[in-house]
Amino acid sequence: MATSPAPKTLFDKVWDAHAVRVLPSGETQLFIGLHLIHEVTSPQAFAMLRDMGLRVRFPQRTFATVDHIIPTDSQARPFSDALAEAMMSELEKNCRANGIRFFDSASGHQGIVHVIGPELGLTQPGLTIACGDSHTSTHGAFGAVAFGIGTSQVRDVLATQCLAMTRPKVRRIEVGGKLAPGVYAKDVILEIIRRLGVKGGVGFAYEYAGPVLEAMTLEERMTVCNMSIEGGARCGYVNPDETTFAYLRGRELAPQGPAFDRAVAWWRGMASDPGAAYAERVALDGARIAPTVTFGINPGQSVAVDERIPTLQDVPDDERPGLEEALAYMELRPGQPIAGTPIDVAFIGSCTNGRISDLREAARVAKAGRVAAGVKALVVPGSQAVARQAEAEGLPEIFRAAGFDWREPGCSMCLAMNPDKLIGRQVCASSSNRNFKGRQGSPTGRTLLMSPVMVAAAAIRGRVVDAREIL
């Protein structure tokens, strides 16, 4: 009689299925099922490949798009910024020379790399996925093992379709109960990072589970997994389930017909087994999570919208210097309520919150008012497909009528590599993922991270406000 195999996590199943061999260093040579590239971190990798006299080993397993540098006002070529145009041309040339499919603006599928992979059906359960971008963790929402890599590792994947990796431990994070109305996936991940810290995930893959995650749509799960890296975890995932399979059915590059049914059987088998062992387990009560806003200079420095900014006495000794630095930079006082903080700019978009469901929710708020005097507000769809869907639903008209700018798809004001930037000491309510010093383009600019609905509400009131007062 065959003994049943020991229960395993999804992470371990995916890792073991993709292990080519153990390297002399003790690291694992891991096969990468899907490689995504963009214009910022790939050109040097292609140059290294040429220097080594190597070819792309599996060109059909790499896909490209342009997102970081693309302007969101006019995407006509050549771009007005010569450096951006040079990066775009280099990517076009590298894709052509190596037989890599490039989703550019003409394809109708251009967008933020972590938005288009899922919407095209490229992102699937059970895969290993790598991309030269730290928010590759987003793809874990499908039950993939997905992580960001640097440019030398992009070269490794182009040349060998493999990476040399050390297996992390797995921490299961269970969010129980049910979210209150007006509380979103963004609030869940900000609360997880607040609880476990920005370095809490170093050395771990995060498995997000529990009733709150099970009830989430794929888009919401992507928001959670997207910010795993902000908690220090290079990779975070949710086990695939019927919601996952329903999302993938009929997607352009997902398996079709009988192949789809075979795929579902394999995907189902990759989910963590009941009784699998975890290095650690953490439990949170979803019902206690409130709309959350960051006040500092890393994504762990946050409070509920009805809370006060901590005082130096509220935090452990070793966090005081960081809190002092954050409050000085942000010009916020310890003990001050976060609600009421005035803003100058409101940004809705990014790989965290630039999907159709994010825009729909923000539009509900936009319908209820007008952007406050002196506030610049912009809405940037995550991809051309998101933009088309939004247009079909009449969302741009709602945003424009309320005084928001409606833009073309791209990374926009998340990261300051295109014309959308803060100026001087501006404060931005942002649906993106990082509130680092200078992140949004002004070396002294300030960022408050929150959900898209909270950003829309802040735009209308001109200050941080609980969006539930408006909805």
Partner: protein
Amino acid sequence: MARIERIAARACVVRGDDIDTDRIIPARFMKGVTFEGLGEHAFEDDRAQAKGDHPFDKAQHRGAAILVVGRNFGCGSSREHAPQALMRAGFRAFVGGSFAEIFFGNCTSLGLPCVTLAAPDLAKLMDAVEIDPGHEVVVDLLAQTVTSRAGVMRLQMPDGARKTLVEGTWNATAVLLEAGDAIEATARRLPYVSAFSA
């Protein structure tokens, strides 16, 4: 590939936890198709705000090749531009409380060791370097020690990365290529590679 066994040089301390890669190299300097010229922009915005008081601008740290940092150094963006900028600014090793994983991997790929010390040791090393910036600090990956005026300290480094550095196999492409057809064999075992064809 060079074996990275021992780095002996003057050091420079940048204090603070959670220093992210946007601070190490602001995104506006990533516009370009090469890594050239990044060295002069390392920590540019922090330096401007410190008005000459940033460690990188102090004369006594000129020529330092070991950077001593706090916890979670290099968090945030995966940009290899960050270690590239520090390497091009002359740094060949990092000693810290802890490192963000992608930054750590990027450094290893460039032959730059990131080693950690226990908190009390790190505090002593930081003080020693600030008191006497001119003295030589030795990061020894074979003996697994950091030696300075503060004494001989035991360093920590994941064994896999340490081995690739001391054995000179840190450029992973060459090592990964040695797997040969085993790569294709692995691909054939994965049903999605053939699009779940029957």
